[in-house]
Every structure is written in structure tokens, then in C-alpha cells.
């Protein structure tokens, strides 16, 4: 069925996304009650703004329109610039394989601006640096002005450290949390009315897949949650990746909320999916966008395994609930969103989607999710088949762990 949602539908869906996060804190939240919202799908073959912007505009309209959600509001957008800006898959530009493409970011910013967003902050916690995000983009050969100029009052902020605030913002996990009860984050994740996650459609060595929820793993500042985090207080500058969340070899800076149970498993395949769900609970996503115009198979970045390949699924996915949206994206990738540990792409890890569903953040059951626009079968790009062909899941790297 292809129809445009009304603004009333949009408000209802956005409200359920937020209330889902709230309900997650209650005992009576369950998988069957987890919120279900519409998810828009579109074919998009290039990053030409002439194709990307109309495609996204149509998708947002299908979801009910952006205006009711962002008019007069401060919008924060978490993009995905994982790993070093000097690391490419072969000769492929980073934005064609594992970075959110700036054309998708700029188109979203433009549409948010046109819908009346008062202020738009584009956020990322780049690898091991407190340098401005603009500088990080330039090192990757990307042009920040394309994004800054896409609407009025657009700014970047590096959220890998304290940034422009005087103190970290403490965001609590309404459900109480699987691993962490709350997080100390850069102020930008609190100082916003609307939170958008723009992810790249990829597999992930530790979490099976990385979509709009896993993208939020990167909202944690490495000054608190990184290998070089201060022991008592956050370090001034971020160093390295988030190894301590992966392996639990140490806790975050003591000034931040500590793990609920230090005796819980130390395996990253257990910890990362749960921490992601905790983060999405603490910082609910109002608009989830997954871009798979061009991407890569075999892992989240070129450092993962020798079986990676640049591919062009030519698809965009957007929804108001990150669990619903990730579920549809998984289906587009040829995976079963109802899969759990032991089944691809979760051969060795827990399903972030199931864990999120269990705490009431959203359903992963496609029977309950209305897919608008293109049909899943029409835009399917079979990551699962490629995974089967190469006979392996992505290898878990020891060095770089975003």
C-alpha cells in the first residue's frame, strides 16, 4: 500500500517513539506492545542532490511531513563517520563505503530547514580527536560547506568530548538499562528537541548489523568511555576507541554512572548490543534514516576483514521509530529481523533489535510495520546471500573498535 500519512499520523508515531522509550522503564512493556510506526522505502541510485533530495522529501511526506516534528525546534543529527578519515576500502571514497554520504546529510538538513527547524546541529564523535567535525570531514576529502550551507543555523559539534558546554549531560535509561543505567554525554544530545540518526546500511563485526540504532553507539564521548578516559574524571581530550564498552576491561570515568553489574559478561557480542539499546533508550531517536545508496559488505569499515566489497544497493530507508526502521532495513538486506543469536547476521552476537523490542522501544515484527513507498522485495539488496557466499561473517577486529 502506498499512501501519504497525515500530520496527525506523524505526531502519533513520533509520540509513540518517545513514549516507547518511557514505557521501556515499566514492567508491562513487551514485544507485542512495542510501538509500530510506518517506514518509508525508496529506490535512489545516485548521490546527485537532484535525486536524493526529492527522494527524501517524498519519504518524509509519506511519513507525515517534517514540519510538525521540527518547526521551531532544535534538531540534532547523529551522522556516521566511523574510523579514521585516512582509511579507505581500496580506492573508494569513504562516503561510498562506510561514511554517511554528505549528499544525504545535506539533503536532510535542507529539508529540515525548509520544514522550519530553528537550529540544526550535525553531530559525530570522530575517531580519537577533539578537532572540529568540519576538519575531520576535510581530512576525508569531504566538503562541510555543502552541509553548513544547506539550511540556516546549521552547525557541527564534535561530541567525543565536553565540547562547548561546561559539563556533561546525564541522560538516564528509562528502562533502567541492560548495562548502564545512565550516560554522561556531550550537551548536544540533551540540548535538542528532535534527534535524528542518519546511518549507513552495513554489516557489523560485533553487532551483526549497524543501522540507525547502532549508529548511536558513537554518541558516547571517549573522554568518559574510551580507552584513554580519565579514571576519576573525564579526560580533556579523547584517545583511541571505545574498547572499555566492548570488553568491559575497566569502567568509564568514576564521575559517570557505572555499569549496573560488573560481573555481567565481558564479551563485546553481549555488551555492545545491550549498550546500544541503553543509549537509544536514554537518547530516543525521533527520525531514523538509513542510507544504502552505496555502501560496503563484509563489515562496518575497511579494517574489518579481507572479504569486503563496495556495493550499490541504491536504497533509502526512513522511519519514525528506529527499531521499526532497522527491522525494515534488515529485511532489505536479506536478513530476518526476527533473527536472534545464532542466526545471520547475529551468528555470535545478540540482536540489538530483539533487545530493543524487549524493552519496548519498538517492534521488529514486519507484520506490524507499515512499509510505505517501494516494497521491500523491489529494493532488496541481498547482503545475506553475499554473506553466505563468502561463507563467513565479518571478523571481529582487535585494534579499531569505534
Amino acid at each position: 500500500m502506498l499512501r501519504n500519512h497525515t500530520r496527525r499520523d506523524w505526531l502519533r508515531a513520533a509520540a509513540t517513539a518517545v513514549s516507547g522509550a518511557y514505557l521501556a522503564g515499566t514492567r508491562w512493556a513487551s514485544a507485542t506492545e512495542a510501538p509500530a510506526g510506518p517506514v518509508a522505502l525508496a529506490r535512489c541510485k545516485t548521490y546527485d542532490p537532484g535525486e536524493v533530495t526529492p527522494a527524501l522529501r517524498k519519504m518524509f511526506d509519506q511519513l507525515g511531513g517534517l514540519g510538525q516534528l521540527v518547526n521551531g525546534k532544535t534538531v540534532a543529527i547523529k551522522i556516521n563517520l566511523t574510523g579514521s578519515p585516512t582509511y579507505r576500502l581500496g580506492y573508494e571514497p569513504l562516503e561510498n563505503t562506510h561514511y554517511t554520504h554528505p549528499a544525504v546529510i545535506a539533503a536532510t538538513v535542507q529539508l529540515l530547514g525548509m520544514a522550519g527547524a530553528r537550529r540544526i546541529r550535525v553531530l559525530e564523535s570522530p575517531w580519537a580527536t577533539a578537532d572540529p567535525v568540519e576538519e575531520y570531514l576535510l581530512q576525508a576529502n569531504l566538503e562541510p560547506r555543502d552541509i553548513l550551507g544547506a539550511a540556516r543555523n546549521v552547525e557541527f559539534e564534535n561530541t567525543n568530548y565536553l565540547g562547548f558546554a561546561r559539563k556533561y549531560s546525564r541522560l538516564k535509561v528509562p528502562s533502567g538499562g541492560y548495562v548502564f543505567p545512565a550516560f554522561d554525554l556531550n550537551h548536544s544530545y540533551e540540548d535538542c528537541d528532535v534527534f535524528v540518526s542518519i546511518a549507513k546500511m552495513k554489516e557489523h563485526a560485533t553487532a551483526g548489523i549497524t543501522l540507525s540504532m547502532k549508529n548511536c553507539f558513537g554518541i558516547t564521548p571517549c573522554t568518559v568511555y574510551g580507552e584513554g578516559a580519565g579514571v576519576d574524571e573525564p579526560s580533556l581530550l579523547p584517545k583511541g576507541g571505545r574498547g572499555l564498552i566492548h570488553d568491559g576491561s575497566r569502567g568509564p570515568s568514576k564521575s559517570a554512572p557505572q555499569e549496573k553489574d560488573p560481573k555481567s559478561p565481558r564479551q563485546d557480542t553481549w555488551r555492545v548490543p545491550r549498550t546500544v539499546v541503553d543509549l537509544v533508550g536514554a537518547r530516543p531517536v525521533h527520525l531514523a534514516i538509513i542510507e544504502g545508496v552505496k555502501t560496503m559488505t563484509g563489515g562496518e569499515g575497511p579494517w574489518v576483514s579481507p572479504y569486503q566489497k563496495a556495493v550499490a544497493p541504491s536504497v533509502l530507508v526512513a522511519g519514525l521509530n528506529p527499531v521499526n526502521t532497522d527491522a525494515v532495513a534488515m529485511a532489505v538486506m536479506g536478513f530476518d529481523p526476527m533473527a536472534d543469536r545464532g542466526t545471520p547476521p547475529f551468528e555470535q552476537c545478540d540482536s540489538t533489535l530483539k533487545l530493543a523490542e524487549d524493552v519496548g522501544l519498538g517492534t521488529r515484527d514486519l507484520r506490524r510495520i507499515e512499509v510505505i513507498g517501494a516494497k521491500i522485495a523491489e529494493v532488496r539488496f541481498d547482503f545475506a546471500a553475499l554473506r553466505k557466499q563468502r561463507g563467513s561473517m565479518p571478523e571481529r577486529p582487535l585494534g579499531m573498535r569505534g
Partner: protein
């Protein structure tokens, strides 16, 4: 070449035939008399091991290469492997003593296994920056060559091939350094540590610099620069201040320590904490809040204050790499020296070089012309895709 202590047989001088090695630092002692005599007969100059020949200055350098982190935190503040390079030291010596050739004394570390490619890095690191590495063999290699060991002879062959490559490109020595930032200092006295280490660390930060000696500043010194850094312990002379402010008025940026003094102009926003930015004329002054204490931070801050937008060279998939960007005096051709300090050269690395160029040629010590070189124009720069290469590549780019 520093003649090995164990090479007492003058017949070993035959190894030097046809090579670019033309001067020997022969150990003192009568047991080397025959070596000295035979060298003279062959037309190879030989001298005291502790005395530089006329017109040469011996620079005490470090064995170039990568220092890998020994802990998870990494050797450098960002966990990036630390690179020892003598490039900055050679350039500084050439700037301080333009009429004196810089020979770099940086022997391989004792009790280490030195792969053949490490010698390539040692030679290229010096030669690319206008110096000459004093060929110094590690003891096992020297012994192996005497014993006609095949691996040792192969290493020797590779080493002499590298020396010959640079001898054949002597004209590159005339090319001028291209930079985006100028480092103004006298590089001596109270300023010696900070200013010299700053050169080293600007290279590490990927910020291409030019050395501007305080007492030799002229109208052309700031040409084509985007910024200058002033961190000396004493304030600049009135004349130097005037010249730098002229550069700022014309659109340049000054990154200065508080010793610079009061700055007028309209306040602006700073992309980097710890600096107050003022607009003056068409340019800006970024004045540090605190006296600079750490050259690493200053270099990293300068890279951001100048902005990576103006990077002259960007690398992808290069591993531990450095570059030195030079331009022919007539500005018809750029030569960009690419140095890859890991134990083997990169595969599928990409290099972006700022500038507009018609064509590119690449060469290595092993291949006078890299055939599979692909260049893609990107407006104000070109992206060059490299196949598997060894640790040194010269890119010649025609303007």
C-alpha cells in the same frame, strides 16, 4: 659511507665501483692504511671519521622509521605510531647554513635486526629533504657482505640502488619547499627546543611548513603562505612585527604566543579552544591564551587553525607516511616526495596533492616509472592512486 670497522681488506672497495658512494669516513688506525691508499687509487675520497670534509656539515640524526606503541594508549597522544624522520633537521640545517651540504649521521640501532627496506627509508628520508645519509651498515650486514651471503649482497644492492636513484635526481635539490604555514624563529637559545620540535611535529600533523629565519625575513618570505607561527620567548622586533602584520593585513593568519602582545581588531570565533581570534585587515590573528608549553599541541592546533581545507597532501591507506612538497624554481613542475615508514610499502594507497596539474609521473627506486598510476583531477587538487609500491615514491607533477 662510514667504512665498517670489520672491513680491513681493501679489496672490499670493489663493492663501491659504479655506485654513488664517493666519500669514505675511514676508521683511524694503521690497519686501515691499505684501505685509505686503495681508495685514493680508485679516486674515492677518504677522510677522518670524526671530521666533516670542507663544505659539509654532519647532522646528528635518528634512525628513521616507526616506533610502534608498546601499550594500548599508543606512542603518540592519539595512539598513532610515532615516526622518526630527519627531514625537519636537514631542512633546518639547510636554512641555517645554505652553503653547507647536510650529511646525516644516523646509524642503525645496535642489536636490532635491520631489514633491507630500512636502509631504503634511511637513504630516502635524508635525500628527499636535501641531505645525504652517511651509509652505515649494521654489523651483521657488514659481516654478511664480506662472507658473500646472498641476502646481505641483495641488501647492499638495494642500498646502492637507492643512493644511485637520488644521485640521478640531483636537480630536485634545487626545488623549493612548498608550505601553508611559516615557522618564524631563530631556532637557537631559549627558542631552540620548542621551535625545532615544532618543525618535527608539524610534519607529523601533516602541516606543510616553511622555515622563516627571523633575521632573514624579506618581502617574499610570506609568499603563498596561509599562516605564520610565532612562539619565540622574546617579542618580535618592531621591523619583524611590521612585516608579519603586513602579511596578516593582506589576508594571512598569525598564530602567536602571548608574548606577541596586545592585539587590536574585531573579535572572531576560534575553531580551536585556547586561542582568541581577531580580524585585522583581510586576515586574522589567533593569540594563544597561555604560554605555549607543548609543541605537539601547538602543531596540532595550528593544523586546525589553518584548516585541513588547505592540506597540501592527504594520504589514504598509507600507513605511517610523510610527504615533502617541492616546486621547481620556475614553478613548472612539482615534486612530491612520499615516504612510507612501515616495513613494507602500501598497497592501494591514494594521495591527494593540492594544485592544478596536467600530468603526473611516479617513480621509485625499483621502478623508474610506475606504470599503473591513475590521476583524477579534483578542482584545486589531484588524486593519485598508487599500486603496491615500496617505501619511497617520487611524484612529478607538471603544472
Amino acid at each position: 659511507m662510514r667504512w665498517p670497522e670489520g672491513w680491513k681488506d681493501p679489496a672490499l672497495l670493489e663493492l663501491l665501483k659504479g655506485t654513488a658512494i664517493d666519500y669514505l669516513l675511514v676508521p683511524k688506525g694503521s690497519e686501515f692504511a691499505a684501505v685509505r691508499t686503495r681508495a685514493q687509487q680508485l679516486g674515492i675520497a677518504a677522510g677522518d671519521p670524526d671530521v666533516a670534509p670542507s663544505g659539509v656539515g654532519i647532522v646528528k640524526g635518528s634512525w628513521p622509521g616507526v616506533q610502534w606503541p608498546t601499550s594500548g594508549a599508543g606512542a603518540g597522544p592519539t595512539g598513532v605510531p610515532w615516526i622518526d624522520s630527519n627531514g625537519w633537521l636537514i631542512r633546518l640545517n639547510r636554512a641555517l647554513h645554505p652553503d653547507v651540504a647536510a650529511w646525516v649521521d644516523a646509524p642503525p640501532p645496535a642489536k636490532s635486526l635491520i631489514p633491507a627496506d630500512s636502509y631504503l627509508i634511511a637513504i630516502a628520508d635524508s635525500a628527499a629533504h636535501g641531505g645525504r645519509w652517511i651509509v652505515t651498515l649494521d654489523a651483521p650486514l657488514a659481516k654478511g657482505i664480506v662472507a658473500r651471503d646472498a641476502d646481505s649482497l641483495a641488501t647492499w644492492k638495494r642500498l646502492t640502488a637507492a643512493a644511485a636513484f637520488f644521485a640521478a635526481h640531483q636537480n630536485w635539490q634545487e626545488y623549493l619547499a612548498v608550505g601553508v604555514a611559516g615557522v618564524v624563529s631563530d631556532f637557537t637559545g631559549d627558542n631552540e627546543f620548542f621551535s625545532r620540535e615544532l618543525l618535527n611535529l608539524m610534519g607529523r600533523a601533516g602541516l606543510h611548513y616553511r622555515i622563516l629565519l627571523k633575521d632573514r625575513i624579506s618581502a617574499g618570505s610570506f609568499e603563498r603562505l596561509r599562516a605564520v607561527s610565532y612562539t619565540d620567548a622574546a617579542p618580535p622586533s618592531p621591523d619583524l612585527r611590521r612585516q608579519i602584520l603586513q602579511f596578516v593585513q593582506a589576508g594571512g593568519m598569525l598564530i602567536a604566543a602571548p608574548i606577541w602582545g596586545q592585539v587590536e581588531g574585531a573579535p572572531g570565533s576560534s575553531p580551536q579552544p585556547g586561542y582568541k581570534v581577531r580580524a585585522i585587515g583581510k586576515g586574522r590573528i589567533a593569540l594563544a591564551d597561555d604560554i605555549p608549553a607543548d609543541p605537539y599541541s601547538w602543531a596540532a592546533d595550528a593544523a586546525v587553525l589553518v584548516s585541513h581545507r588547505y592540506d597540501l597532501v592527504r594520504f589514504w591507506n598509507s600507513g605511517a607516511a610523510r610527504s615533502f612538497y617541492t616546486m621547481s624554481p620556475q614553478r613548472k613542475q612539482a615534486v612530491v616526495h612520499l615516504l612510507f615508514f612501515a616495513e613494507r610499502g602500501p598497497d592501494s594507497a591514494t594521495v591527494r596533492v593540492a594544485g592544478r596539474f596536467r600530468a603526473v609521473r611516479g617513480s621509485t627506486v625499483d621502478a623508474p616509472r610506475i606504470e599503473e598510476l591513475a590521476m583524477q583531477s579534483q578542482g584545486d587538487g589531484v588524486e593519485v592512486r598508487l599500486p603496491q609500491v615500496s617505501q619511497y615514491v617520487a611524484l612529478e607533477l607538471d603544472v
